[in-house]
């Protein structure tokens, strides 16, 4: 049968054509099936994941407008009836304790002060640091780089015991500035990684020209590097803000005793365990806690995604 085929076609490539013909036919139909399946599967998978990612937030948002009676009457209904939508919960959660609220306005202010201070100190320290690591050849540069990477990987729970013990002993545990410095120690390594990669893209020639004009190192950083890296620095600042705003463990360890110093994260966690708070108020608190971070994230999402991956991939 093989020979018959050969004599009919009469070329050298017959062997290949013959043996691969049924295989290719099979592959072609398999290809068509796969393409058709994937065409359906792709949007289905994407849609499912999108729903899974967003749904819990949407649910909390919806519940923040429903009172407990309506919720208990009909827990299986997702959308609230338009006439029962109330925003009282937001008023409740934000008002100070004296007015019967949960004082979240003050807690947001606490969180904002702590987060902004963390951002400023982190940048003040990390900008020169990352410039040095990206540009200057100094003794121990490699070791310093690995130190920052190791610190970036190191989880907070291992620091919980020694820092808790040390600051309790020093009598400084309830101090929000101590907390800020602890946050800086957690963010400075990430900041250096993100900025280092960006600084490496600034052309060295610019700096050499500036040095010839008599600028010192700090002058070069201030006049050349800072303006050219502004987008990276801003997105880095917002990233550090998000870390400080979201942080829970150290806020719990350091600030839990004094309610007037709580951060929003800590406040919501503490109130969740208090049975008497109405659910809608907690939902509103959760939205108030999430909103600033989500707003920042959407404003800077492109920078952040790029910075995060490049920072960690190079490490």
């Amino acid at each position: 049968m093989t020979e018959a085929t050969v004599s009919r076609d009469g070329t050298k490539s017959v062997h290949i054509v013959r043996s691969s013909r049924p295989a290719r036919k099979f592959t072609r139909s398999r290809n068509a099936i796969e393409l058709r399946v994937l065409k359906v599967l792709r949007p289905v998978v994407a849609g499912t994941l999108l729903l899974a990612a967003v749904f819990p937030f949407l649910y909390v948002l919806v519940l923040s407008t429903r009172d407990i009676a309506s919720l208990q009457r009909d827990p299986a209904r997702f959308w609230p009836a338009l006439d029962e939508v109330r925003l009282d919960a937001y008023v409740d959660v934000l008002l100070p304790l004296e007015s019967g609220g949960q004082d979240f306005a003050r807690l947001m202010l606490n969180s904002a002060v702590i987060a902004v201070a963390t951002v400023l100190i982190t940048l003040l320290v990390a900008v020169p640091g990352s410039y040095a690591v990206s540009r200057l050849d100094f003794f121990g540069r490699r070791q310093v780089s690995s130190l920052f990477l190791a610190v970036y990987l190191f989880p907070g729970i291992l620091l919980a015991v020694p820092l808790f013990v040390a600051f309790t002993r020093l009598g400084l545990r309830g101090n929000i500035w101590v907390l800020v410095v602890v946050y800086v120690s957690q963010t400075v390594a990430v900041a250096i990684f993100m900025l280092k990669n960006y600084f490496q893209t600034v052309p060295v020639g610019l700096e050499e020209a500036a040095a010839l004009d008599g600028l010192g190192r700090l002058g070069i950083i201030r006049r050349i590097i800072l303006p050219l890296s502004l987008p990276a620095i801003v997105s880095n600042a917002l990233f550090v803000f998000m870390i400080a705003w979201n942080e829970f463990l150290f806020a719990l360890l350091f600030l839990v005793e004094d309610r007037s110093r709580w951060t929003v994260s800590l406040g919501l966690a503490q109130l969740t365990n208090a049975l008497e708070t109405p659910p809608a108020t907690l939902m509103a608190g959760s939205i108030v806690l999430t909103l600033p971070v989500v707003a920042i994230f959407f404003a800077t999402e492109k920078f952040l995604a790029g910075g995060l991956t490049s920072g960690a991939e190079k490490g």
């Binding site: 792709r42 999108l50 827990p75 291992l158 020694p162 808790f164 829970f248 463990l249 995060l308």
Partner: protein, 326 residues
């Protein structure tokens, strides 16, 4: 090693460069010093000190007076190692980290592949997929607790209304439950599974982000050539795309495993470590704050640190190898 030594010698042999290099070295050290000091004082020194604390029998109430150095004993270490809960806790931690890591990477990969082809609104979908990872952990755990609430949570309400559940399931407070599957009676650890599912949900965006970045950087021509030669999409993934993703998947695995292994916030906020979910890091917190036992908390943290040191060494080797290749 040798090449670095030689280059330093060679540089020292050229005087003008040497003084320039020395000035540069001094500037470099000066600029990086504040960061190094903060990290050494608040991270490195405390960690080293906590190794010492593990060898002390110290209670929180004695903290004001007790000497912080010296007076060592192995009582705390013995206490932690002989605790019945430790091995249960270790088991839960490993199950949590292995399944949590694998799940996050698999879901992240599926998401990255599903969103690989451009379509209208893809940027927005990608950003929304990152929400579980960027939203405050207290808010995300709260959302899950609400959804799973036995009294008014949507999952139980829908489960009872649509799936015919007889009773609401206490997802976060029930240790285990029998589940009938194909005629088999299985005992499922309910709370632990829920906590693991949460971890996968919350961290898959991280894997998704990295895998998407890698996929976008892949050269398209090999794949295109393979498709021209008749490779089906799955064949092209199996033989062309996947091998190029392996290095980043390896890095992600180590990275996610390190972080998941040490997770505190997620588990503490969901269950406080109850119902069979007391992972080692929650144990550290409970020893420290719940029982005021500093020594035992440090000893338990030491266990975590040992595992972590091994993992970080593995990560640095992986990262180093990648750096050497590119």
């Amino acid at each position: 090693m040798t090449t670095r030594g030689r280059s330093r010698v060679a540089r020292a042999g050229v005087p003008p460069r040497s003084s320039l290099a020395r000035a540069e070295a001094r500037a470099g050290l000066g600029l990086v010093l504040p960061s190094v000091v903060i990290v050494v004082v608040l991270v490195v020194a405390p960690i080293l000190w906590s190794l010492l604390l593990a060898f002390k029998d110290l209670r929180l109430v004695e903290l004001a007076r007790a000497p912080l150095f010296g007076d060592f004993s192995t009582a705390s270490i013995v206490e932690v190692l002989s605790s019945r809960r430790l091995w249960e806790s270790m088991g839960a931690t490993f199950a949590y980290s292995v399944i949590g890591t694998a799940g996050a990477i698999v879901v992240g990969l599926v998401a990255a592949l599903a969103l690989r082809k451009p379509f209208r609104g893809r940027g927005l979908v990608r950003a929304l997929l990152l929400l579980p990872y960027v939203a405050p952990i207290v808010a995300t755990t709260f959302a899950w607790r609400t959804l799973l609430n036995p009294q008014y949570g949507l999952v139980n309400a829908w489960g009872q209304a649509l799936l015919g559940w007889e009773r609401p399931v206490a997802f976060l407070t029930q240790r285990s439950a029998p589940v009938g599957l194909f005629g088999l009676e299985l005992t499922v650890p309910v709370a632990l599974s829920t906590v693991i599912a949460f971890e996968v949900w919350r961290t898959f965006p991280f894997a998704f982000l990295f895998l998407t970045a890698r996929l976008e950087a892949l050269p398209g021509d090999i794949e295109e050539a393979a498709r021209m030669d008749g490779a089906t999409p799955t064949q092209s993934f199996r033989h062309i795309v996947w091998p190029q993703l392996v290095p980043i998947v390896a890095v992600l695995t180590v990275l996610r495993f390190i972080w998941t292994f040490n997770t505190f916030d997620d588990v503490y906020l969901l269950t406080e470590g109850r119902a069979g979910t007391q992972v080692v890091s929650v144990g550290v917190y409970n020893y420290l704050v719940g029982r005021g036992d500093v020594g035992a908390a440090s000893a338990q943290a030491l266990l975590l640190a040992i595992v972590l040191a091994v993992l970080i060494a593995a990560y640095l080797r992986l990262a180093g190898r990648r750096g050497g290749e590119s």
